[in-house]
Subunit: 144 residues, 2 copies
């Protein structure tokens, strides 16, 4: 297995509500088989019924939208871009759990939850290389 | 905000256990500041203390490793590759929740949970374009 993710599927309770939230952020999806697909650079983000996802994976689900221990980061090129996106998130009805602030690693970041509780971090981290196409390359940490 | 994920952070209760699991699958990480980073094609997968992640994002966390409504897909080029990876996952101590099987969309897939309950799907989907570098392009669904 290689270290890579090709699709990130977010289980949602109301597909229209979830799609509307992300489209208000400027995304444009394609819907097929009651699933909404958004193409990213080299991967895709998918909205699908949480109940169907749990059933598909034979996963026990208590249906809560509690923190699931996963955060999706959206790295951007500047602090101003963090601020601007957070304003868009608020306008779209997202819940900002942590407003933009300095981070311990010398960056600037905020966190929000989408309407189903999925957690995003919007971050500017000057030590990571963000390419023009939106992809990211880690530094050599000089670590083991 | 663009439709893209740059980092996928998986909150873990035991960093060494989590790192060992993924390294037994063949991944090679770098550790810095009690965080393990794996470089993927254009994005990175990060292992970090679940408690620290929740604290960083000002997120309420009941600490459960229940299904969080997110599935990370690892698309591969053949059915045989799905089978092979699932064998590796079992050897590494992962919990296969759904053994490899035909899917409703004409593909072949399995699901597993990592030691912290994070859900992965290993899938061969002939209708998605999987590039040599491991990135994925969605088809035009001809949909709205």
């Amino acid at each position: 297995m290689e270290p890579r993710v090709t699709l990130i599927t977010l289980g949602v309770s109301d597909l229209t509500r979830a799609r509307t939230f992300y489209e208000r952020l400027g995304w444009r999806g394609q819907e097929a088989e009651e699933t909404v697909f958004f193409q990213g650079p080299g991967h895709a983000i998918v909205l699908w019924s949480r109940a169907k996802l749990a059933d598909d994976g034979a996963l026990h689900d208590d249906g809560a939208d509690a923190f699931g221990g996963v955060a999706l980061a959206h790295n951007v090129a500047s602090r101003e871009e963090v601020d601007r996106i957070v304003e868009d998130v608020i306008d779209a009805g997202g819940e900002v759990t942590k407003p933009p602030a300095e981070t311990f690693y010398g960056g600037y970041a905020a966190y929000f939850r989408d309407p189903d509780g999925h957690v995003w971090e919007v971050a500017h981290n000057p030590s990571f290389t963000l390419h023009a196409d939106g992809t990211l390359t880690l530094p050599d940490f000089g670590a083991r």
